[in-house]
C-alpha cells in the first residue's frame, strides 16, 4: 500500500447491490466526481478477474462489468450462487452483497 492507495468506499457516493431478477445480483457504484469515475475506469483495475477474486467466485460468474458514462457509474452483475429465496439463500432481495466492493483498493496515481 502506498499513500495514494484508496478504496472504492472513499471515492463513491453510492455503493449498492440488488437483485436484477431472481438469478442475478447487480452492484452499482456512483462516484463523487466525474474525474474520479474516469480515472477508475481508465485504470483498468476493476475487471472480471479482480471481481471474481474479491467475491471468491469463478470469473464466469461475473456477468457484466460496465462503466456507464451518463450516470458516471460502474455496474457489475454477478450470477447468484443460489437463486433468490431458494433453500440456502441468505439475502432474498440481494440488497447487502455490496460490502466487499467497498474495500476494493487501488492506486489512482499510477
Amino acid at each position: 500500500m502506498t499513500e495514494s492507495t484508496v478504496c472504492l468506499a472513499d471515492l463513491a457516493s453510492v455503493i449498492r447491490s440488488k437483485n436484477a431478477g431472481p438469478f442475478v445480483i447487480t452492484l452499482d457504484v456512483f462516484f463523487k466526481e466525474g474525474e474520479v469515475f474516469r480515472k477508475v475506469r481508465d485504470a483498468g483495475v476493476i475487471t472480471k478477474a479482480s471481481l471474481a477474486e474479491l467475491y471468491r467466485v469463478s470469473e464466469d460468474d461475473i456477468l457484466e462489468v460496465t462503466f456507464f458514462e451518463p450516470a458516471e457509474a460502474l455496474k457489475i452483475s454477478i450470477k447468484r450462487w443460489v437463486s433468490s429465496a431458494a433453500p440456502g439463500d441468505t439475502d432474498v432481495f440481494g440488497a447487502q452483497q455490496h460490502v466487499p466492493l467497498m474495500s476494493l483498493s487501488f492506486d489512482l496515481e499510477k
Binding site: N19, R56, K75, S84, T90, Q97
Partner: protein
C-alpha cells in the same frame, strides 16, 4: 397533444404515499395514474401461493394495499382519468388479480363509485409452454438452465410479463380502472403515451424511472409521488413532495436500478437503447431525459416466471452470548447436525434439509463473506425444510435442543447454550418455493396470452 403527464404515486402499491404529494400531483392535472404492484424481489413464495393458504396473510393483499387504492380510485375517477395497475398482488397470477379486484370492488361499494374495470390475466398454460419448448421457442434468461418439460410440470404457477399492448387495448376499450396481472414494470406507465403516439423508447424509459415512485429523487423514497411529463422528443420527471428533488444524478442512477445491463432495457417486443441518452437539469427539481430509442425485436418474446414447490419450512431464532459457547459454535452446530441426522434416519435424507445461519459472523453473505471475525454475541437462525410441516417442526425442535444442551469441553454455562426470544421456539412458516422458470418465450401476438375481461363495477 403536445405533452402527456403520468403520475406514479408509490413504488409498490401498498408502500403508501403522503396525501399532500398526491394532492400536488393531481393539481398538475395528470392524464393517468399508473402503479406497479409487484416484483419478483420478495421471492417465489407469492407466485407459488395456493388459494387455501390464507390469501389474507399475503402482505400484498393487506390493509396497506387497501389504504393506497382508496385515495387513488377517488382521485382518478373524480378527475376522469384512468388508474392503471400492473403485477397485481405481488406476483400477478390469476388469484392475485382476483384478490386485488375484490378490494377494488369493496372500495367502490363503500364509496359509491361506478366505473368500467379491465382485468388482464397473465397466467400461462403449462401446455402452451411445453408446446413452445418443443418448438425451440423458449430460451433461458440470463444464467438459468435450459427449460425442461419436467420443470414445466413441477411449476405450480407460470405467469408471463405482459408488455404495453394489453394495457393499450384496455384503454382503447374505455377502461377507467385497469388491473393487470404480471407486467413488465414500465408497461403501465408507457401505455397511455404510446396509445397517444408518443415515442416508444421515451415512453418506456419514462416508465422505468416512474415505476419505483420517488426512488429516482433525492432523498429517494419508495413511498412518494413522482410526475412524468412526456413530450415529442424528451420527457421530464419531478417529485411532488417539496422535500425531494430530481437531479441528473438521481435520475441517471435510476436507469441502472435492478437492471443487469445499463445500456439496454429489455422489454417485451424490443429493447430501449440508452446509448444515446442524455440527462439535463430542467429546473432545480426537475430533470429532462432525451435520446432513449426503442429497437423492435424481430420476434416478440415474453418473460416467463414459474415457481416450484420445495417443501415446508420451520424456523427457530436464538442468540448465543457465552464466550465459551461462541468459541465452540461450529462444533456445536456440527454435533447437532449429526445427532439430528441420526435421530431422523427413518426419513429419506433427500426429503429434508437443515440450515444454520449465524448472524454476527456470516449470516448475510454465507460462503462469500470475506471477514472471519465473530461478534460478542451472535444470532442463530435454525431453518428446516421438510416434505411435511410436522416433520419440519419436529426436526427443528430436535436440532435446537441438541444445540441448547450441547456439552463442549470447558463448558461452564451448563444450563443451556441458547437464548430464545420467542415462545414457541419452533415456528412453522409454511410452504417454500423456488423460481424454476425464468425464460423468454416467443409468441405470435402480444395480446392473446393476456386476456382482457371488462367489468362494469357499481352498475
Amino acid at each position: 397533444m403536445d405533452e402527456l403527464r403520468i403520475l406514479s404515486p408509490t413504488g409498490i402499491l401498498g408502500y403508501g404515499f403522503p396525501a399532500d404529494s398526491l394532492a400536488e400531483g393531481m393539481a398538475n392535472k395528470p392524464h393517468a395514474i399508473a402503479v406497479d404492484a409487484g416484483s419478483t424481489d420478495p421471492g417465489p413464495y407469492f407466485l407459488g401461493i395456493q388459494p387455501g393458504e390464507a390469501i389474507g396473510k399475503l402482505a400484498k393483499f393487506g390493509r396497506t394495499v387497501h389504504a393506497d387504492l382508496r385515495p387513488l380510485m377517488k382521485a382518478t375517477l373524480g378527475a376522469r382519468i384512468p388508474l392503471i395497475i400492473g403485477s397485481a398482488g405481488g406476483a400477478g397470477g390469476n388469484l392475485h388479480v382476483m384478490g386485488v379486484a375484490l378490494l377494488i370492488r369493496e372500495i367502490a361499494e363503500q364509496e359509491g363509485l361506478k366505473f368500467r374495470m379491465a382485468l388482464i390475466r397473465a397466467e400461462i398454460e403449462p401446455s402452451l409452454v411445453k408446446e413452445k419448448l418443443r418448438q425451440g421457442k423458449v430460451t433461458p434468461l440470463g444464467p438459468v438452465p435450459e427449460l425442461s418439460l419436467d420443470d414445466v410440470d413441477r411449476s405450480v404457477r407460470i405467469v408471463a410479463q405482459m408488455g404495453v399492448e394489453p394495457f393499450v387495448r384496455a384503454l382503447e376499450e374505455g377502461a377507467q380502472v385497469i388491473l393487470g396481472g404480471r407486467a413488465s414494470d414500465p408497461a403501465m406507465f408507457a401505455a397511455l403515451p404510446i396509445l397517444q403516439g408518443f415515442d416508444k423508447g421515451l415512453s418506456i424509459h419514462m416508465g422505468k424511472i416512474l415505476e419505483c415512485g420517488a426512488i429516482a429523487a433525492e432523498p429517494g423514497s419508495g413511498g412518494d409521488v413522482l410526475l412524468g411529463t412526456i413530450r415529442r422528443d424528451h420527457f421530464l420527471v419531478e417529485p411532488m413532495n417539496p422535500v425531494r428533488r430530481c437531479t441528473v444524478r438521481s435520475v441517471a442512477a435510476h436507469s441502472l436500478y435492478e437492471a443487469a445491463d445499463p445500456w439496454h432495457l429489455n422489454e417485451p417486443g424490443g429493447t430501449v437503447d440508452l446509448r444515446g441518452v442524455s440527462f439535463a437539469q430542467e429546473t432545480d427539481r426537475c430533470v429532462r431525459v432525451s435520446g432513449s430509442r426503442f429497437v423492435k425485436d424481430p420476434v416478440y418474446r415474453i418473460k416467463l416466471e414459474g415457481a416450484e414447490f420445495v417443501g415446508y419450512r420451520t424456523i427457530c431464532i436464538a442468540g448465543v452470548r457465552d464466550p465459551a459457547a461462541l468459541a465452540h459454535l461450529d462444533e456445536m452446530l456440527e454435533g447437532a447436525r449429526i445427532r439430528t441426522a441420526e435421530q431422523f434416519s427413518d426419513l429419506d435424507r433427500a426429503q429434508w434439509e437443515l440450515y444454520f445461519r449465524v448472524y454476527g459472523r456470516d449470516g448475510v453473505m454465507g460462503p462469500l463473506e470475506p471477514e472471519s471475525s465473530l461478534a460478542h454475541e451472535v444470532g442463530l437462525l435454525i431453518e428446516v425444510i421438510a416434505s411435511t410441516q410436522e416433520d419440519a417442526t419436529s426436526i427443528c425442535m430436535f436440532a435446537h435442543a441438541q444445540i441448547l444442551h450441547y456439552g463442549f469441553p470447558g463448558r461452564t454455562s451448563t444450563a443451556g447454550n441458547l437464548a430464545f426470544p420467542l415462545s414457541p421456539q419452533d415456528i412453522p412458516v409454511g410452504p417454500v418455493h423456488r423460481f424454476n422458470i425464468y425464460h423468454l418465450m416467443e409468441v405470435d401476438d402480444p395480446l392473446i396470452h393476456f386476456p382482457i375481461q371488462m367489468i362494469e363495477v357499481g352498475r
